[in-house]
């Protein structure tokens, strides 16, 4: 049995924040989970996918994208079952269409939406602050500061969700999801048998045509008022220490603030209001805290969400307390915080002297070679890039070719010596933007997308490209897995672990042909001369074509061979 299942209540395990979320979900009675992987959320789905083999009462699937996953989880919750979906921050953009109206129709069974944000873009194309999705949708939000809270809040989130009949956002960041710490276990739910829900028809609730949507919006607003009361009294919103100065903080920065207050010896001067239930913000609690203080510093990564809430509360109550934060230049809206940065800002805000530790003289350290992440030695993507590049060179087309790219290991084709990645927005943008370039320029366009990304967001832009006569060559780099996030399954894969052998297979070439793409070839990128001959006519032509470069990820192949 997996240790996360065998651990008894009160037993302590060293868990990643993401693993703690899984344990919390299983304590909270999760029945149906669905996700599309994305760092820093991926371990949640991986673990649930693995654990369902040991738990007859748990179903988990990797859906083809976050929107599908959200809809699967929503339907489960509408049928009275507890459900969860998890995604990286930009994944919620994909699922946002579902989320915004799901907030209107709500849920019956508890539903948790985990959004794992990535300040400093450790593994992402932006560092958007998804707390604004709670504001935008009107849904309650919890923000754990560490793995222990991640476990407890996830279990609690199901109760909160059922009480309000709304999905609950659980927002982490990389430093919470990928923190590892001692976590004390609670009681696991029973998973001995599969439990079926029942969907009760109620079109006046579940079908938000305009007349119903207008009513449901009122229901949502009423629930937000109820949630504000819950936030005010929430056990996740706590005060530490005492004093005439105050700090309001949430997320991983709670740790930085509590350490700093202790290390600066400020426990009797600075009170800390650490918030875990942050949307709706606890207006009453904030007012009480602000009222007693001479000055308050708001410490939160990325956007000034709590800072602006504090300013609203102060204005509503006519409180004159100075509020420091992003607006006053104490913090930046960009990049993640560090303990030292927080310590310095606290000292500055409250006029304390603080000298950071003296840096040693390092003038003698030589220039060191960078280690940008690279495609693995032997990776099939390297071969595909080489084959395409050589043909374009031979055709004299290389310098006038635009290479739109997509999200996956192959984005590393950006780096020398490959340098075949010119334009990227988001999942699937290699296909949509290629069509745009084909109408806007006379340049040749060769774009790259992975197999998993193709199923995620490549199908509908390819249909659009066929219909609108876009002119480009799309290279689908089919390495038979979602490689970068840890080898999650893809509907097209032939090479699969034993537990997935009975799944149907969706053939990419057949799909592309069925969409009506005029020219399609499949190549083995390791057979260079054969591959070059096969793709040359496509790269010469001025019409839409698809090259499927099929060769398994070498790490994935080794992993499957071990099973």
């Amino acid at each position: 049995m997996h240790p996360i299942l065998s651990a008894k209540p009160q037993e302590k395990l060293l868990l990643l924040g993401n693993e703690a979320i899984v344990r919390g979900a299983l304590e909270g009675g999760l029945r149906i989970g669905a996700a599309y992987p994305g760092t820093p959320s991926s371990e949640i789905g991986n673990l649930l996918f693995q654990l369902q083999r040991e738990l007859p009462g748990l179903y988990f699937e990797f859906s083809t994208n976050e929107k599908v996953a959200m809809e699967v989880a929503a339907a489960a919750a509408a049928s009275g079952l507890r459900s969860l979906t998890c995604m990286k921050h930009v994944g919620l953009n994909v699922a946002a269409d579902a989320l915004m109206t799901l907030a209107y129709i709500g849920v019956k069974g508890g539903m948790v939406v985990v959004t794992a944000d990535d300040p400093s873009c450790h593994s992402s194309q932006n560092e958007q602050d998804n707390r604004y999705y709670a504001r935008l949708s009107g849904l309650p939000m919890l923000e754990p500061a560490n793995p222990q809270e991640a476990r407890e809040m996830t279990a609690y989130a199901f109760e909160l969700s059922e009480r309000l009949e709304l999905p609950v956002l659980l927002r982490t960041t990389t430093r919470v999801s990928h923190a590892r710490a001692v976590v004390e276990m609670g009681e696991l739910a029973s998973y001995e048998e599969a439990l079926k829900g029942k969907f009760e028809k109620d079109p006046k609730r579940w079908v938000p045509v305009p007349a119903i949507a207008r009513v449901r919006h009122q229901v949502l607003l009423e629930k937000m008022r109820e949630a504000t009361v819950l936030a005010d009294g929430s056990q996740w919103n706590r005060t530490y220490g005492k004093g005439s100065k105050g700090i309001i903080v949430s997320g991983v920065a709670v740790n930085y603030v509590l350490d700093a207050v202790e290390e600066l010896g400020l426990e009797d001067e600075v009170a800390v209001l650490a918030l875990g239930f942050t949307h709706p913000y606890p207006a009453g609690l904030l007012a009480d805290f602000l009222r007693e203080k001479e000055a308050v510093l708001v410490v939160e990564e990325l956007e000034p969400y709590l800072e602006e809430a504090a300013r609203v509360v102060a204005q509503e109550r006519g409180l004159k307390v100075p509020i420091f934060g992003k607006a006053t230049g104490h913090f930046s809206r960009a990049l993640e915080f560090t303990p030292g940065l927080v310590k310095e800002a606290i000292a500055r805000a409250f006029g304390l002297s603080y000298t950071p530790p003296e840096a040693p003289d390092l003038s003698w350290v030589p220039e060191l070679p960078p280690r940008p992440p690279t495609l693995c030695p032997g990776c099939p993507h390297r071969e595909t890039y080489r084959v395409v590049k050589e043909v374009l060179e031979e055709l004299g087309e290389l310098s006038r070719t635009i290479f739109p790219t997509d999200i996956g290991c192959y984005t590393l084709g950006l780096l020398p010596p490959i340098q075949m990645a010119d334009y990227l927005i988001c999942m699937g943008s290699s296909v949509g933007s290629a069509g745009g370039f084909s109408k806007a320029t006379d340049q040749r366009i060769v774009s790259f997308i992975g197999d998993s990304t193709f199923f995620h967001a490549g199908l509908s832009p390819l249909a659009s490209a066929v219909y609108n006569r876009h002119r480009f060559t799309l290279v689908i780099m089919d390495n038979e897995t979602t490689a970068m996030t840890g080898h999650q399954p893809v509907p097209s894969q032939e090479l699969r672990p034993p537990e997935l052998e009975d799944r149907p297979r969706i053939d990419i070439e057949a799909v592309v042909k069925a969409l009506g793409v005029p020219k399609v070839v499949t190549i083995n990128p390791y057979k260079k001369e054969e591959a070059k001959a096969a793709i040359r006519p496509l790269l010469e032509a001025d019409e839409l074509s698809v090259i499927i470069a099929k060769a398994p990820c070498i790490l994935y192949r080794a992993r499957v061979a071990k099973k």
């Binding site: 303990p339 040693p360 350290v365 280690r371 992440p373 290991c409």
Partner: protein
């Protein structure tokens, strides 16, 4: 116990996650508060990796500049790269066997001769432990046990509030039986480098 902040650095593929997992297990089984921050995802592909490990009730799982009590390096260039996060009395424990980046193999950058910088390193800090980690690991049975050699070297400094037996128990618990003997030998070899 005293608060202790350990920064472990290396290159993707050197097994830094196992290094920190074993250390975490030691802390957990001895009831010592511990928190860590790990790097996952894209950065693991041959890039610079680091694990921040804090002991003794530090809440922040991330270590700032000047806060590192012990810098542990699985690779010498990475040890040097992490020095801006040290202070004058940081203890340094590092392997000296280089891992040449792909970018150098592709002829796009150079990997400097580190003989002199590593000499300077020993002069600049009061306690510096350098050892050929990969060579020691190879002698113990597998070069892949560099991470456990380095863990042994860290344990041998006596700066951590754990006994040698605590570490050996944790290794037995975590490392697969097939690789256990080599890893136990690797730990012992690393331990004897720094224990005096």
């Amino acid at each position: 116990m005293e608060r202790l902040r350990i920064l472990a650095v290396g290159v993707g593929g050197q097994g830094i996650l196992l290094f920190s997992r074993v250390l975490g297990e030691v802390a957990l089984s001895s009831g010592t508060p511990i928190a860590m921050s790990e790097v996952h995802g894209m950065a693991q592909r041959g890039g610079v990796v680091e694990t921040n490990i804090v002991l003794g009730g530090v809440r922040s799982p991330l270590i700032s500049e000047g806060e590192v009590d012990i810098l542990v390096g699985l690779e010498p260039a990475e040890t040097l790269r992490a020095l801006p996060r040290t202070r004058k009395d940081t203890v340094i424990v590092s392997s000296t066997d280089p891992v040449i980046p792909q970018i150098v193999k592709d002829g796009l950058a150079t990997y400097p001769d580190l003989t002199e910088p590593l000499q300077k390193l020993q002069e600049a800090y009061p306690r510096v432990y350098l050892f050929p980690g990969e060579e020691i690991a190879r002698e113990a049975g597998t070069a892949r046990a560099l991470n456990i050699v380095t863990l042994g070297a860290l344990a041998g400094t006596g700066l951590l509030p754990f006994s040698k037996e605590d570490f050996l128990e944790a290794i037995k618990k975590i490392v697969k039986p097939k690789f256990l003997e080599a890893n136990l030998k690797a730990f012992e070899a690393g331990f004897s480098v720094t224990a005096s």
